[in-house]
């Protein structure tokens, strides 16, 4: 393929053609309620709301709002939460000092002409000790009589730490750049595949401002490298087994320059119990290697440059099992729900910080969707 052909193809993909096809946009809304509870004493209850409104044949405005009410915020760090004050000297006399509420609105503007879908969005999140600000854009082009869809997405965040006690962070920002490239391909009338590549670059204060090294001879907070570059490759597919059963599967390989790599496998079987009720079973397995700077608990010295006690910097596996529910009502309204159980393998860092052998969590969703 010549350079000229490549440039022409790039131009044709990136420039929106004159709109001639039917748009897939519609006025819709949803309300929901999500929960998360784990043995690290974190409980989150999250009402959600989304509203999408067309204001022309090809343009739509979307608003989403999520409120997380957190009964043990990031600053408590599980069962050892009170110990943070030993290092920081912070007062614990406030009433409910660790409770937090996170407000996370997202606004989106979408163009869709049936062949091209372009979305611009902005995200804002505020909580007691953290402010998140992001912009994102996503473009999907349908090709080949809508057998193939190419997608490119980009997001840039400008987040800021605001620790609840007086700690001067070496940096108070955390900026993340993410690029997603995807391709969807219909293989047959009953089989479709998707491949996704993600590039991620993080810069700033990348550890928690509250985690500290639990060693008698060291009074140090966690300290990670301030730059991280990661790559993820994912393959997903859905296959119709027969009229009533479909199998959804995915695999992801991730690696970064902290030497963390992981494999994730997810399989879900969905069964139509009636014309309007679908349910099934999902299983997920995750395994990761440790970062190149984490050391065994109790082995850090004051000469070390980096300190990590968060279990996420260590090697561990996790398992998830869940049940989804989809119920379609008259008039096109839809109710969806899910309940999932998550468990990590036993881990010394979890034991040290949370006081339990492993983390176990249950998370649920309940959503009512309708067109208007």
């Amino acid at each position: 393929m010549s350079l000229k052909h490549i440039l022409i193809s790039l131009f044709s993909i990136l420039i929106l053609p004159v709109a001639t096809l039917a748009s897939n946009l519609k006025d819709s809304a949803s309300i929901g309620f999500n929960t998360y509870n784990d043995t690290g004493e974190v409980q989150v209850y999250s009402p959600t709301l989304s509203l999408f409104k067309k204001f022309s044949s090809h343009w739509m405005l979307g608003l989403k709002m999520r409120i997380d009410t957190i009964t043990a915020a990031s600053i408590t760090n599980g069962a050892n939460g009170g110990q943070v004050d030993v290092v920081t000297g912070a007062s614990t006399t406030q009433e409910n000092p660790f409770d937090d509420i996170r407000y996370a609105p997202t606004a989106m503007l979408t163009y869709d002409d049936g062949e091209n879908t372009l979305t611009f969005g902005a995200y804002y999140s505020t909580e007691k000790d953290y402010e998140g600000k992001s912009v994102f854009t996503n473009y999907v082009k349908q090709l080949n009589e809508q057998n193939t869809a190419l997608g490119i997405g980009f997001s840039q965040s400008f987040d800021k730490w605001m620790p609840v006690f007086d700690r001067a962070l070496p940096k108070d920002n955390r900026n993340e750049t993410k690029l997603d490239l995807s391709i969807n391909q219909l293989i047959s009338p009953t089989f479709s595949l998707q491949a996704v590549y993600s590039y991620m670059y993080s810069e700033g204060f990348l550890s928690s401002p509250y985690h500290y090294v639990p060693q008698d001879d060291i009074a140090k907070f966690e300290n990670y490298p301030d730059v991280r570059t990661g790559h993820a490759f994912a393959f997903k597919g859905v296959y119709l087994l027969n009229n009533a059963n479909a199998m959804n599967f995915s695999y992801r390989y991730y690696f970064d320059d902290w030497d963390i790599s992981s494999h994730t496998i997810n399989v879900e079987e969905l069964h139509d119990f009636s014309h309007n009720f679908t349910s099934g079973l999902r299983l997920r397995y995750y395994t990761q290697t440790k970062s190149n700077f984490v050391k065994d608990i109790g082995s850090y010295t004051t000469d070390d440059k980096y300190f990590a006690i968060d279990y996420r910097m260590s090697a561990f596996d996790s398992y998830t099992i869940g049940v989804p529910f989809i119920y379609k009502m008259k008039g096109g309204d839809k109710m969806t729900a899910s309940i999932d159980y998550y468990q990590t393998t036993n881990n010394d860092y979890i034991k040290s910080w949370y006081g339990v052998d492993n983390l176990q969590a249950v998370f649920t969703t309940l959503t009512y969707e309708f067109d208007y």
């Binding site: 996370a104 009589e145 997405g153 391909q185 479709s192 993600s198 991620m200 969590a361």
Partner: protein, 73 residues
């Protein structure tokens, strides 16, 4: 930058070949309208668990959708 350029070039090359990939006619797409044939059959769960796994594990990416940051990480 090199990664971004190569990735875009990959998509362009793939797009150029896509005319040979018409495998399903419009009248054969009825199954893909069903919820169980979606890659994300429950969108709200996909969004919530994407956030949870981002907080509880050290990996990210591969979901082709935006995920905003928070202090839980």
């Amino acid at each position: 930058m090199k990664t971004i350029f190569l990735s875009i070039a990959f998509l362009v090359l793939l797009g150029g070949c896509s005319e040979k990939l018409v495998r399903v006619m419009p009248y054969e797409k009825e199954y893909f309208a069903q919820d169980k044939m979606s890659l994300s059959p429950i969108a709200e769960r996909a969004e919530q668990e994407g956030h949870i796994f981002l907080i509880r594990e050290a990996s990210a990416g591969g979901e082709s959708s935006f995920q905003g940051g928070c202090g839980c990480r």
